[in-house]
């Protein structure tokens, strides 16, 4: 139980905080002043360094601003979301917080807890420099609600070049399922597991299915499926799901005991040859496994090489926060072209503004940024980026868990039809 002293102390702290905020709401001509609380789940090495790149730019353009970095560690953001949910329910709204564009953002829009940024997009000309597919993933009922920091690509197939050579396999910039199947046969004959998988956490297997579906059915069909406008029991979908079932049989036998970093480690070692993973694996391969881009490992895409499955992080401004002007200043700092490069260099994702030079980035990132600017964009369902209820993504990963046991593509389709239409 709280002692009397503790209660008095906490009351004092709370009233001091209230006074501080009310004093700070007076804006001045030279930049925004007052407190801005930035709520995120970026606490680890490269992530917090990337966040600091934004925060220092914000401080530079607004010297009078007081930044509170309220990052909550752990659980890929689930811990932070839990803390945020309680704070929003209590009316203690941060000026800005991190959220995924798509269903998660829609949840906050439905609760009317985030500001509409459409006017800001117009006045700053952001609509002209951000690919339309990305703006769409943050737009709901014609209103845009968040600003992106950077984009990861989910649909890359990473390959171990030495392992492929050993089996006499080579891939171009894209592959079909038939090519993968032929390669799998040769790899098995050479004693190498064709697929690297670490699906102790189910999202990695779900991502494999998602990229198979996007690759074989195309971007438009996948978007329709996610939105409940196409049937998941369609013959073509069932075939693609069965291809996924086949791919699972190619995986390393300990896949259920590894996480995604374990799968990347196995790829680097060469005990297995291909890993379908987002380009956060790129950082893992370069930094942790000390492998060289295009020498030790290569990359390809299932289906159309111009298709880019996006996983972005974005920030919203709290509608009921005390200092929305400071939130707006933060959004402008995020969109600053210089911040775009600095942030993404540290985070390993691709800058998405079409008007920034990517010359200072690595070879893979340059290629990814180019595809991002010119290719077909699909928001990832597995990573909650599709503009559908979060429960659809959950149904998808639950469906994959069941699929692993019973291999029943038709039953999976039925369950997904129910989830997307419900």
């Amino acid at each position: 139980m709280l002692s009397k002293k503790k209660i008095i102390a906490s009351v004092a702290i709370m009233s001091a905080a209230v006074l501080g905020v009310s004093q700070a709401t007076v804006a001045q001509a030279a930049g925004v002043t007052g407190k801005v609380e930035v709520f995120s789940w970026w606490t680890s090495g490269s992530e917090s360094a990337a966040l600091n790149a934004i925060l220092s730019a914000l401080k530079k353009s607004n010297p009078g601003i007081e930044i509170i970095n309220a990052a909550v560690a752990g659980g890929a953001g689930t811990n932070a979301k839990q803390v945020l949910a309680t704070r929003l329910a209590a009316g203690d709204t941060p000026e800005t917080w991190q959220t995924h564009p798509g269903g998660e953002l829609k949840g906050y829009v439905d609760q009317a807890s985030v500001l509409d940024l459409t006017a800001l997009y117009k006045s700053e000309g952001w609509n002209n420099v951000v690919p339309k597919g990305l703006v769409d993933s943050m737009t709901y009922n014609g209103k845009t609600y968040s600003v992106l920091t950077g984009i990861h690509r989910a649909n890359a197939v990473w390959t171990n070049k030495a392992a492929l050579r050993k089996a006499g396999v080579s891939f171009g910039e894209s592959v079909t399922f038939a090519q993968l199947e032929a390669a799998a046969k040769k790899l098995k004959a050479a004693g190498i597991a064709p697929l690297c998988l670490g699906d102790k956490d189910i999202w990695t297997a779900a991502q494999l299915l998602e990229e198979t579906l996007v690759g074989e059915l195309g971007a438009a069909t996948f978007n329709n499926l996610a939105a409940g406008k196409a049937s998941w029991t369609d013959a073509k979908v069932v075939t693609a799901v069965n291809h996924f079932n086949t791919m699972l049989t190619w995986a390393n036998s300990d896949h259920k005991a590894l996480d995604w970093t374990g799968a990347v480690a196995a790829l680097a070692k060469g005990t297995c040859a291909m890993n379908v993973m987002g380009d956060w694996a790129y950082g893992e391969l370069i930094v942790k496994q000390q492998k060289k881009d295009n020498i030790d490992f290569g990359y390809t895409v299932i289906g159309d090489p111009k298709t880019f499955v996006t996983v972005g992080d974005s920030f919203v401004i709290g509608a009921k926060s005390k200092n929305a002007a400071a939130g707006e200043a933060f959004a402008k700092a995020v969109m600053d072209p210089k911040v775009q490069i600095a942030f993404n260099k540290l985070k390993g994702s691709a800058p998405y503004r079409t008007d920034v030079s990517t010359a200072s980035l690595g070879a893979y990132q340059r290629a990814a940024a180019k595809t991002l600017a010119t290719g077909t964009l699909v928001a990832s369902l597995v990573h909650g980026q599709q503009l559908v209820a979060a429960s659809v993504g959950q149904a998808f990963s639950d469906g994959v868990t069941v699929l692993q046991a019973n291999k029943d593509a038709a039953a999976f389709g039925k369950a997904m039809n129910a989830a997307t239409k419900g």
């Binding site: 005991a257 209820a389 069941v402």
Partner: protein, 334 residues
């Protein structure tokens, strides 16, 4: 006399005054919130910040969805299997260890501490370590291989001993046909009802961690048995086995009940061990209601569904704990 009695009625006893603050706090933070959670579980689409308490089309709709859901059915199955086996192994192993340790003369303290040590380790640590041990490629299977156990097994049964452990999708002893005859409404079971093989390593890890706790309780019980009883048994020339069977173990039964209730409430709420060790498993073979609640609320953002599942968990815990508490209360009143 009468006036004194009257006065006593209106005076707060010091004990009441001392307990009142904690009573109020418990009332608010436990019982009010349980009521709140029940209310959320009967709402259509409650969200924090959107306090919408309107009912779904069928007022029990969320619960209906819950119980017809493949995943939740598997969760209930896993909870029951996990609880029974975990309880049996921990209690039996704990009893065995307690008897062994109590008969030691020199190294008693050393072994007592050795067996209790796992209990001090966090479930997350246990989970990660046992995940590595039960890895079918790099874990305990290598031990089978290099000690020649796998080779002997191959000679006897034709294939090497390489269990899949947590990566196995097999469910032993499917009793769906039998259960569907018993449950009114017939064809409602989606998940296979049986013993998921992948759950066994997890049960083993949990028992490894908590059998030391059971041992400590039994050791306390054994030391409470009057010395005279043992001496009398020795005079009657009862063997060691006979002494334990007829005297020591029967007198440990209250201890065993307390131990079982504590362990059951641990197992019904288990989350961290599973989360770190195996995740949900193939076909939800190692999923638990706790993980389901967490994912429904914070991943799927379906608060009513998560609330309903957590109420089901609460009911399960009550089924185990309430009879014990009632008995305990009776005992103290007498």
């Amino acid at each position: 006399m009468a006036t004194i009695n009257k006065r006593r009625k209106f005076r707060f006893k010091p004990a009441t005054v001392a307990l009142l603050p904690s009573f109020i706090l418990v009332f608010i933070f436990v019982y009010i919130f349980i009521a709140y959670t029940i209310r959320i579980s009967f709402s259509k689409n409650w969200m924090p910040g959107l306090q919408d308490f309107s009912l779904p089309e069928k007022w029990y709709g969320t619960y209906q969805e819950l119980f017809t859901n493949f995943r939740f059915q598997a969760d209930i199955r896993n909870t029951i299997i996990f609880t029974i086996l975990f309880l049996a192994i921990s209690v039996v192993a704990g009893l065995f260890l307690a008897i062994a340790v109590s008969n030691m003369s020199k190294s008693k303290v050393f072994f007592r501490n050795l067996f209790i040590m796992p209990y001090a380790v966090s479930f997350i640590v246990t989970g990660v370590i046992w995940r590595w041990i039960f890895n079918p490629v790099s874990g305990v299977n290598l031990l089978f291989k290099y000690t020649g156990v796998s080779g002997l097994y191959e000679k006897a049964f034709g294939s090497p001993l390489e269990p899949d452990w947590m990566t196995s999708p097999t469910v032993w002893g499917n009793v769906n046909g039998l259960l569907e005859k018993l449950i009114p409404g017939g064809d409602v079971l989606q998940a296979q009802m049986g013993i998921p093989v992948a759950l066994l390593p997890v049960i083993f890890a949990a028992s490894w961690q908590l059998c030391g706790f059971a041992m400590a309780m039994f050791l306390a019980g054994l030391s409470a048995i009057p010395h005279e009883l043992r001496e009398a048994a020795a005079i009657d020339r009862a063997s060691g086995f006979r002494y334990y069977r007829s005297i020591a173990i029967p007198s440990l039964i209250p201890m065993a009940v307390t131990c079982a209730v504590i362990l059951t409430s641990t197992s019904l709420k288990i989350f961290d061990l599973i989360y770190a060790m195996s995740g949900s498993g193939i076909g939800f073979s190692t999923d638990m209601p706790g993980i389901y609640v967490y994912e429904s609320m914070y991943k799927a953002l379906r608060y009513p569904l998560g609330a309903a599942a957590s109420i089901v968990m609460l009911v399960l815990v009550c089924v185990v704990v309430l009879p014990y508490l009632l008995r305990f209360n009776k005992g103290t009143e007498e």
